[in-house]
C-alpha cells in the first residue's frame, strides 16, 4: 500500500489523539503521591535524630 503524505498525516493525527486519551495522572493522584513521598522523607528525618553506634547490626531475629 502506498502511503501518501495525506494518509501519513491522518495516521499521525490519530496516534496523537489516542495518546491524548491515555489517562494522565489526576491532580489528586499527584497530590497523593507527593504526600506519600513526603511521609517517607519525614520518617527518614525522624530516624536521623537518633545516633546509632557503628557496631549496631540490623535486627532480623527476636529472642525472648
Amino acid at each position: 500500500m502506498k502511503l501518501t503524505r495525506r494518509k501519513l498525516a491522518t495516521v499521525l493525527a490519530s496516534a496523537t489523539a489516542l495518546a491524548a486519551q491515555q489517562p494522565a495522572p489526576t491532580p489528586a493522584a499527584t497530590d497523593d503521591l507527593k504526600a506519600a513521598r513526603d511521609r517517607l522523607q519525614a520518617n527518614a528525618r525522624a530516624l536521623a535524630t537518633t545516633p546509632i553506634p557503628m557496631a549496631t547490626e540490623p535486627a532480623f531475629q527476636f529472642k525472648s
Binding site: 511521609r39 517517607l40 527518614a44 525522624a46 530516624l47 537518633t50 527476636f62 525472648s64
Partner: protein, 476 residues
C-alpha cells in the same frame, strides 16, 4: 437434643465443646446454625468475604463420627470459626481484600487452618479485611473489596482494620472465634473497636505459612474470641514450629493458667497521662474504672516511661521497604490502580523509591529498641495502655483526621505502644473494658516476648471481675 438459640452463638468454647460431647446438639447442626447466621448477618456488617457452608458441614459430619466413637480431639472439636481472607484455603478464592486478587486461588492451605482442622475445628467462612491488610496506608474505611467494615455496635461506625471481618464476626456471634493478622495494629484496633478479646502473639510463635505477606519481619497471626480463656485455648492449637515459615520461632505454646503467678507479684507499667490526657474525654470514666479493677486485683501499677525512640517512623520505614518489595509486581503491572483507596495506591508506588539506607537505619534502630525494651521488662512484667484512644470512627470519616501537625504532647505516655510492640515482636492482649457513647473501649496488655501466659492470666483475672467481654451488640 437441645435447641441452638442465640445464647449458643455467644457461648464460650468450653460450653460449646461440653454441649457437643454431651450430644446436646450435633456438630453438623451447630455448623449449619453458624453458617446460616454468618451468611445472613455477615453482609450486614460487610464482614463476610466467602461463605463455606458445604465445607463446614462436611467437616462437622466428620466431627460427629469422631464424637460418636468418643474420639475427642480437644476443646476446639466441632467449633465453627472464620479466618481473615488473607489465609490460603486450597481450591477456594483468597482475595486479600483487594480487587486485583479477586480471582486468586491457591492449591495449598495455610498452616493455621491445617492445625485447626486437625483438632476438629470447623471452618465456616472467610472474613473481610482492608485491602492488602492496609499496606501503603489507607485513608478511608472503604479501602476493601467488600466495602467498609461496619461495626456491630453501630453500623454507621467502622469495625476497625485491617482484620475488620474477624472482629465484627466474633462481636456479632457469627462465628465462635476468628483468626486475624497484625503487622501494626490490625488485631488491636478492630478488637478494641468491636469489643472483643483478642491476642497478638509474639512474633514467630504462630506460623504464617499460607498467609499474605505484608512485612516479613512484622506480620503475625492471632485469635479473636470471647474471652482471654478462649484466646489461650486457640493459641495453644495454632502456635508451634513450622519449617514452612522462615520467621518461625520454633517454639510451642501450652496454655497453663494453673501455673499463673499471683497477681500481687506482677508489676504493671503504665502512663497515667494516657488515661488522663491522651484518651478521648468520653472514654475516661471507663478507663478509670478498668485501672481500678486492675489495682483491686492486687497488681502493682507503677508509672513507667517507654524508651525514647522514633517508633512510628521506624515501623513505617520497615513496612514500606518490605511491602514495596513484596508488591513490586502488582505496582509495576499497573494493577495497583485497581485498589479502592487512592492514598493507599500512592503509598505503594512511593514505597519503591525508599532508599536501602533508610530501611537499614530503621532495622539498626530496631535493634537498639529491642535492647532497651528488654531492659524495661526487667523492671515491669507487663505494660498496660488504652487499646485505642477513642471509640470507632464514623465510616465516612478519613482515618488521618486530626493526625499530626500539632505540638507534641508534654508527656508522650504509651502513645507509641502499637508500633513499639510490633517492632519488638511483643505479644498483646486486648480486653474490652467498658463503653463510651454506647461503643466499646478496651485495654491492651503488652508483655515481653513469649509471655502470653502472663497476659492471659491477667486477662482471666480482669474478666472474672467484669462482664464487658460478655456484652452483645444490639439486634443480634
Amino acid at each position: 437434643m437441645a435447641s441452638i438459640g442465640t445464647d449458643t452463638f455467644f457461648a464460650p468454647l468450653s460450653d460449646l465443646n461440653a454441649s457437643l460431647k454431651a450430644r446436646e446438639f450435633s456438630a453438623e447442626n451447630l455448623a449449619r446454625a453458624f453458617a446460616e447466621r454468618l451468611q445472613q448477618l455477615g453482609p450486614r456488617y460487610n464482614a463476610l468475604a466467602l461463605p463455606l457452608p458445604a465445607e463446614a458441614l462436611r467437616q462437622a459430619r466428620e466431627v460427629d463420627k469422631d464424637l460418636k466413637r468418643e474420639r475427642f480431639r480437644g476443646p476446639l472439636q466441632g467449633i465453627p470459626y472464620g479466618v481473615k481472607d488473607l489465609l490460603a484455603f486450597a481450591g477456594q478464592p483468597t482475595t486479600w481484600g483487594a480487587k486485583p486478587y479477586a480471582g486468586q486461588v491457591f492449591d495449598y492451605t495455610a498452616t493455621v487452618i491445617q492445625k485447626l482442622s486437625a483438632v476438629g475445628a470447623v471452618l465456616a467462612g472467610k472474613l473481610s479485611m482492608v485491602e492488602l491488610a492496609g499496606g501503603g496506608g489507607y485513608r478511608f474505611p472503604s479501602a476493601s473489596l467488600t466495602g467498609p467494615g461496619l461495626n456491630p455496635w453501630d453500623r454507621t461506625r467502622w469495625s476497625g482494620g485491617s482484620s475488620s471481618g474477624s472482629a465484627a464476626a466474633v462481636a456479632a456471634g457469627l462465628v465462635a472465634f476468628a483468626i486475624g493478622s497484625e503487622t501494626s495494629g490490625s488485631i488491636v484496633t478492630p478488637a478494641s473497636f468491636c469489643g472483643v478479646t483478642a491476642l497478638r502473639p509474639t512474633y514467630g510463635l504462630v506460623s504464617r505459612h499460607g498467609a499474605m505477606a505484608l512485612s516479613w519481619t512484622l506480620d503475625k497471626l492471632g485469635p479473636f474470641a470471647r474471652s482471654a480463656e478462649d484466646c489461650g485455648i486457640i493459641l495453644q492449637t495454632i502456635a508451634g514450629k513450622d519449617s514452612k515459615d522462615p520467621g518461625s520461632a520454633g517454639r510451642s505454646f501450652y496454655y497453663t493458667p494453673q501455673y499463673a503467678r499471683p497477681m500481687k507479684d506482677l508489676r504493671v507499667g503504665y502512663a497515667p497521662a494516657d488515661f488522663a490526657e491522651w484518651v478521648e474525654p468520653a472514654t475516661r470514666p471507663a478507663f478509670e474504672t478498668a485501672i481500678g479493677v486492675l489495682k483491686a486485683s492486687g497488681l502493682q501499677l507503677v508509672e513507667t516511661k517507654l524508651p525514647d525512640f522514633p517508633y512510628g517512623a521506624a515501623l513505617s520505614t520497615i513496612l514500606a521497604a518490605e511491602m514495596g518489595s513484596i508488591f513490586e509486581p502488582l505496582i509495576a503491572s499497573g494493577k495497583v490502580d485497581e485498589l479502592a483507596d487512592k492514598p493507599q495506591i500512592a503509598g505503594l508506588k512511593a514505597s519503591l523509591e525508599l532508599p536501602a539506607k533508610d530501611y537499614l537505619k530503621a532495622m539498626r534502630l530496631r535493634r537498639l529498641m529491642q535492647e532497651e525494651i528488654s531492659r524495661l521488662f526487667g523492671t515491669v512484667d507487663v505494660l498496660v495502655a488504652p487499646g485505642r484512644a477513642g471509640i470507632a470512627s464514623k465510616i465516612d470519616q478519613p482515618l488521618d483526621r486530626g493526625g499530626g501537625g500539632g505540638a507534641p504532647p508534654k508527656d508522650p505516655g504509651f502513645r507509641s505502644i502499637i508500633p513499639m510492640g510490633n517492632l519488638a515482636g511483643l505479644p498483646a492482649l486486648v480486653l474490652p473494658c467498658g463503653f463510651a457513647e454506647n461503643m466499646p473501649v478496651a485495654l491492651q496488655v503488652v508483655g515481653a516476648p513469649f509471655s502470653e501466659n502472663t497476659l492471659l492470666a491477667i486477662g482471666r483475672e480482669f474478666q472474672s471481675h467484669t462482664d464487658w467481654h460478655k456484652r452483645r451488640p444490639p439486634g443480634v
